[in-house]
Amino acid sequence: MKNLLKDSILNIKKEKSKKGILFSVLKTIDEPIFLPSFDEEIEILLEKNVSLHLLERETSEKKRSYRLKEGAVLHHNFLSFCEGGEEQREILLYRNACWEAAYADFSFTSHTLNINCILEEEGAKGFFHLSGLGRKETKKVFNINFIHKAPNTESIMENYGVVRENSSLSFIGTSFIQQGAKKSKAAQIAKIMIFDPKCQASASPILKIDENDVLASHAAAEGKINEEHLFYLMSRGLKEDEAKRLITLGYLNPITTFIFDDEAKEEVRKNIMERI
């Protein structure tokens, strides 16, 4: 996989900007591109109707922003297995642009992620899928905002998490449909499975709606493992630990559906297996 910072990639223009580095993607790139951690702010611009698969492996404390022009599509994977810190991401979507993101966080370090996705023009779509694990003493906060500014925009957020030991996990999702964003759709699901007596979980899928003609839904659930599911699996001979493990895997594994790179997908599976 080519490295956005180190390799020279055909159809990606790199230039210095006021804040850091600006990468302009001029044409669709078929192979996935890797963006590592970096000390400067990074801005990525997808030109009209361009498509890009972008993989970010380590967290970066410097702000990163992404601008998708008309009809552009960004398939965006974030994998976090070791680094912690606070991340800030801004995504700006123009007419009919689409941002499809999956975030797999199985690190053993505390972590805060702030994402603002602005659906600036008509027909823009944003999808965010998260699978997160809290272990040991870690504190993880995921603050995800979708702001609908134009009609016929759509956002879907699905946040799934598991907390164990003394860790804490917080999902704060906000879908804000502004006045004039008619016929927009927003949906949020936030679910956290709690394993141990001292861990903490908080799931807040918030809807702010300033327009009448919209479709919006939100759901939150947190609790212990479903006793009926456990009984069902154990009634087929699975030991309690094994049944719990299978159910937990089932909770976190679906994120792999959204990981586009096979190697990364396998790495996520391996980390889920090893770390739960």
Binding site: Q188, H218, N226, H229, Y232, G237, G250, L252
Partner: protein, 277 residues
């Protein structure tokens, strides 16, 4: 399994007694029909034998070949040959059907099953139950129709080969063809060492699987234990005659409303503390 005996079984759920001294014996090779009006404890008895922790056994014992299984975990009961095809099988999101089946089969074996052997067995059972192989890659029972769920239960029974298969309203939600398919699978699995304990409201299933005995449960007790002619009589006359002949007042099923909760929408927060005992 040679025998399963339940003796003076008293069972409560949420403080309400459902089984009020149930007695019965299942011998190897028998197919027993368990009948009774709705809400009188048939499913509870099956769940208790399987070990559902929702139910509290307040008195009595369940002996599998002389060994009290009440102290056994659910998985141990399964490994001892007990199987329950559930009336409402759980949908378990994210758990892939094939992964679950393989884990279940491995739980009943000393050595893990080889992948090729597993697929061969699964293909054979799936084909018998007319379950497309792509269902193996779907999540366990999620999005399955009522009939698919029931056929998936029978598929599991075929793969796990229990010595006591308890089938709780396995015919509900099945069309005529699927009912024939399920009953054929049951018939083919019958042997001198395997027993079936089958709950159904309809004689149609019983006609296809030929029970050797019938039990009738009323008001949380088995009030009749006899030959299969009981099935025909109940099918034609209902349960009223039992009331008259045995002098038992049959309690009507209680219709209760679900509890309602009013709270803030969409926000969940908990500081998980140790529950006070």
């Amino acid at each position: 399994m040679d025998t399963l005996i339940f003796r003076n079984l008293h069972v409560s759920v949420d403080g309400k007694e459902i089984l009020k001294g149930v007695n019965g014996t299942i011998h190897a090779g028998e197919t027993i029909a368990l009948l009774g009006p709705n809400g009188h404890g048939k499913s509870t008895l099956l769940s208790v034998i399987m070990g559902n922790p929702k139910y509290r056994v307040t008195d009595g014992e369940i002996l599998l070949d002389g060994k009290n299984i009440l102290s056994m975990h659910v998985d141990e009961r399964s490994k001892n040959g007990i199987f329950l095809a559930m009336q409402y099988p759980s949908e378990v999101p994210g758990v892939v059907n094939a992964d679950f089946l393989k884990a279940a089969m491995n739980a009943h074996r000393e050595e893990p099953i080889k992948l090729f052997e597993f697929y061969k067995e699964m293909e054979k059972a799936s084909s018998k139950m007319s379950i497309p192989m792509d269902m193996a890659t779907r999540y366990l029972n999620e999005g399955f129709s009522g009939g698919e769920k029931k056929r998936n239960e029978i598929l599991q029974m075929m793969l796990l080969k229990p010595s006591l298969a308890m089938l709780d309203e396995i015919d509900s939600g099945l069309d005529v063809d699927a009912l024939t398919m399920v009953s054929q699978a049951i018939e083919e699995m019958k042997d001198a060492k395997r027993s079936f304990f089958v709950v159904s409201h309809y004689a149609r299933l019983y006609h296809l699987i030929h029970p050797t005995r019938a039990m009738v449960m009323i008001n949380g007790k088995i009030v009749l234990d006899g030959d299969p002619s009981l099935i025909e009589r109940i099918d034609h006359e209902g349960y009223e005659w039992i009331q008259d002949e045995l002098g038992i007042q049959i309690k009507k099923e209680e219709m209760t409303m679900n509890s309602t909760s009013i709270g803030t929408c969409g926000v969940k927060e908990s500081l998980n503390r140790k529950e006070e005992k």
